[in-house]
Amino acid sequence: MRRLREIDYGILTSSILLSVLGLVGIWGSKGGNSPYFVKQILWITLSLIVFFLLVIIDYDKLINLSPWLYGGLILSLIPLLRGGGVSSWFKIGGVWFQPSELGKIILPLFLTKIMTKKAPSPLSFPWLVKISAIAGVPIILISFQPDLGTAFIYLSFILSAIIVFGMKKVHVKAALALSILIFIFSWFFLLKGYQKDRIISFLNPSEDTRGRSFQIYQSKVSIGSGKFFGKGLKEISQAKLKFLPAAHTDFIFSVIAESFGFLGVIVVFLLYAVLFLRIFKIGAILDEERAIILLYLTAGWLAFQVVFNLLIAVGLFPVTGFPLPFMSYGGSDLLSSYASLGVVNSILAWRWK
């Protein structure tokens, strides 16, 4: 229990404040009496319990356990593929959950286990392949669900590993060439019509606002119409009159921006900035290699998901659809986000044994 005293309250406070702001957004778009609001409060409570549980568990134990967890993750993703390949949800004992969300905790642990004291810096080619394969297997499985949003987030594990360890210049060039080839290939053979539409609509935002770029357009209208001070929660026509789709989930940021204007936007960014800067500050006092790797891989996906959710909301990236960590409505995502913060604090708390 003494480990709890080591918790970074900057991280905990800012994440809880973000969740409260998310609740306000849900209240604004769905109403205070809606089941969404009450459920979200329950999920936040549950997520905080998981957070504290993970703080009191030594992250080393989790790293050692990670090969088993990774194996379990892959297995749990396969039955979904067999069950028709339509759902990313999994039901255990009457509770639905997404194993892909659990993977966001497991992958950093497993990659840490594999890379510590072995991976060269900058990464060699065999190591690049190895890391890509470890992240790539779940990415492929999740893409077939098809949950492109989550699969996209998983790319952050490869990206974070490369940032932490560095990459040779030759490989950077080769990777660029390869990704272009992959894009061309997937455009013609892999992507489904609606996925292509999303990309097209992003490139041609002026197209029919009722058609495929509807979401991006409406999100921009929501944000823009908030102006400096916002319209206030009662007057947010975009979210309330259902012009903004998925207002309480993927586009919660737009709701806040419409309600509280540019001021609200600044508050959101200050909270996220505090959150991430506090996480990175932990990195400065760590001595253990595995602790550093695990910290950045964990923080990496969170940051990646935050940044891309916001880029989508402001119309700078095509829609794929995933929640904004800590703020969006939805249990699985809240759980994985807070659990990741739990891991981060566990690293902090267990730096002395």
Binding site: S121, S237, F280, I293, L310, L311
Partner: protein, 584 residues
């Protein structure tokens, strides 16, 4: 060992730098969206949710001289569809078709014909629904938020056929009308007749209703509304009963009748036959009827009274007499011998009476409509003097009546012929013109106005239907013929004899002195084998001393002026005087 940790830590700094860079990017973007373009997006958000419903203005009512409504507006329950909220029009319309019993194909045709319609403006797909149909639509509206029931003012004519050419009809504005009249798509505008002439006055001012709606189109709240204003009331000089009487007389015949007050120029009745149904032509639907009217060989859409330019035959002899008296060529008492023919050049011009009329003066020549008298007078007068003397009369020029698309007819002259046909005038043509044949054409309205000039002994007013619009009265021009009064007295004396004992005896009305002139306009037959009857024409003025009324009757291809048009004019004048005596 320690070195490796420091190396990884150092590289990881890139991660935090990247995040902060992206945060800065998104904040800048929000600044752009919210601060720089905030006004634009606020407007877009407002347009998303605020829905403007237009409220059509009722067109102004039109009355006859005795206050009878001849054009009004009735509320119609109309069904409309808003394209912006429509996901599958075919599905919606087939459902609608089931409940209101209008074939899906008709609904779809109407829907697709309005492709250029604004997406958020309701497209009317059915008019005049019954309460039963309305309640059935209300029942399925839950499923189809794109459907709207509107109580909309629609033009209604209580006597759609009797007044068809005078009132005209209305219809949705065409692209050209939208540009020219400054109206909006889907607005009704006058297409013909008084509806078109006084469209601006009759149109009224539209209102609107601003509704708050969600993205599915469900109305939530009334934000703002402005009631429409009815168009101006128009009072006309028409006498509905007289119009109806003439309409019934003209049924089955082709031609036109104009009755007007020579002093004021107010038109009492104007019937062009065959007619059309103004209500049907004003409908958004009835496409079959519209096509039928447009393609009918009877040309019912053609207003014969102002657009039909006919040869007017012997009626023109009066104009020739006026010209000859004005130029001093003859005196009324001068006698001329009619042997039944007149040689001019090397042509033989015949009188209509084979044996000739013997010695005739102006009065008997008019009474008997002697051709030879007028041939000789015309030959003596010459074309230049003839045209010059009657240049102020309403021939070859528009009368300026308040109806659109009036035709001017032709008053031929050497200059006119040179200009339009490129060939010189032949002296023989002057002879033909002296009895109203050749290139001369005029509308029944011009004939009546010519009658007004005679009735007033020298001047004639601008003919019109309007008495007032929105309280503002009619202001028309007065034309002076520049001919002395005694000349008119002389021709009127002859015209009196026409009805008393001459060619126009059939127009006699007991107790009323009527002056008149018959006309029989021969038509050049294109097929020689078929016998073509002449246009039968009658011009009447009554009473002779102080005329109250002028009538012109023209019946196409029916026979002699004295046989067909004169008795018809007599019946109309009899009705006019009898009713008037009873009425006033």
């Amino acid at each position: 060992m320690k070195e490796r940790v420091e190396k990884l830590r150092g590289k990881s700094r890139l991660l935090s730098e990247l995040i902060l860079a992206f945060f800065a990017l998104v904040v800048l973007r929000c600044f752009q969206l919210q601060i720089i373009k905030g006004g634009l997006y606020s407007e877009l958000a407002r347009r998303n949710s605020i829905f403007r419903i237009e409220l059509k203005a009722p067109r102004g009512r039109i009355y006859d001289r005795e206050g009878r409504i001849i054009a009004e507006t009735r509320a119609s329950f109309s069904l409309a569809i808003i394209r912006a909220f429509s996901r599958s029009p075919t599905e919606t319309l087939s459902e609608v078709s089931k409940v209101i019993n209008i074939p899906t194909s008709i609904l779809l045709e109407r829907f697709h014909s309005q492709k250029n319609y604004p997406k958020r403006k309701p497209i009317v797909i059915a008019e005049n629904l019954s309460m039963k149909q309305v309640s059935r639509i209300e029942f399925i509206k839950e499923k189809f938020p794109e459907l709207v029931i509107m109580a909309e003012p629609l033009r209604y004519y209580p006597y759609p056929e009797i007044l068809s050419h005078v009132l005209g009809y209305v219809g949705e504005a065409t692209k050209r009308e939208i540009k020219e009249l400054g109206v909006e798509m889907g607005d009704f505008v006058g297409k013909k007749g008084l509806e078109r002439e006084y469209d601006k006055e009759l149109r009224g001012k539209k209102g609107y209703r601003m509704m708050l709606r969600d993205s599915l189109g469900n109305p939530l709240k009334l934000e703002e509304e402005a009631f429409p204003e009815e168009g101006e009331v128009i009072k006309t000089s028409l006498d509905f009963r007289l119009q109806r009487f003439i309409f019934r007389k003209m049924k089955g015949k082709k031609g036109g009748v104009v009755v007007l007050n020579p002093k004021t120029g107010g038109v009492l009745a104007m019937v062009s036959s065959p007619c059309f149904n103004s209500n049907k032509l004003s409908s958004r639907f009835e496409n079959n009827y519209k096509l039928k009217m447009m393609n009918s060989p009877q040309e019912p859409l053609y207003t014969r009274t102002i657009q039909g330019t006919y040869p007017i035959g012997s009626v023109f002899k009066i104009a020739v007499a006026i010209a000859a008296l004005k130029k001093g060529i003859i005196k009324p008492e001068d006698r001329i011998f009619c042997p039944g023919f007149f040689y001019f050049g090397n042509r033989n011009f015949k009188c209509w009476r084979t044996g000739g009329h013997g010695w005739v003066n102006l009065y008997s020549a008019i009474e008997k409509s002697c051709n030879v008298y007028f041939y000789k007078v015309g030959a003596k007068l010459g074309i230049e003097k003839l045209v010059e003397a009657i240049s102020k009369f309403p021939f070859g020029r528009k009368t300026g009546i308040d109806l659109p698309n009036e035709k001017s007819g032709i008053l031929p002259s050497p200059q006119w012929k040179e200009k339009t046909l490129g060939i010189p005038w032949f002296p023989g043509e002057t002879i033909s013109l002296s009895i109203g044949q050749g290139y001369l054409t005029a509308t029944p309205l011009q004939i009546a106005l010519f009658g007004a000039a005679i009735a007033n002994r020298g001047w004639y007013p601008q003919p019109h239907f309007l008495i007032s619009h929105g309280g503002k009265g009619w202001k028309g021009k007065v034309n002076n013929t520049g001919v002395d009064k005694w000349i008119f007295e002389a021709v009127l004396k002859g015209m009196r004899r026409v009805v008393e004992k001459g060619t126009g005896k059939a127009a006699r009305v007991a107790g009323v002195e009527i002056c008149g002139k018959t006309g029989t306009a021969q038509i050049v037959a294109l097929e020689k084998t078929r016998e073509v009857k002449s246009h039968s024409i009658f011009l009447g003025i009554a009473p002779c001393k102080d005329p109250q009324v002028v009538i012109s009757v023209l019946i196409e291809r029916s026979g002699e002026g004295g046989e067909i048009a004169a008795p018809m004019a007599g019946d109309i004048l009899r009705y006019y005087f009898n009713e008037k005596i009873k009425g006033n």
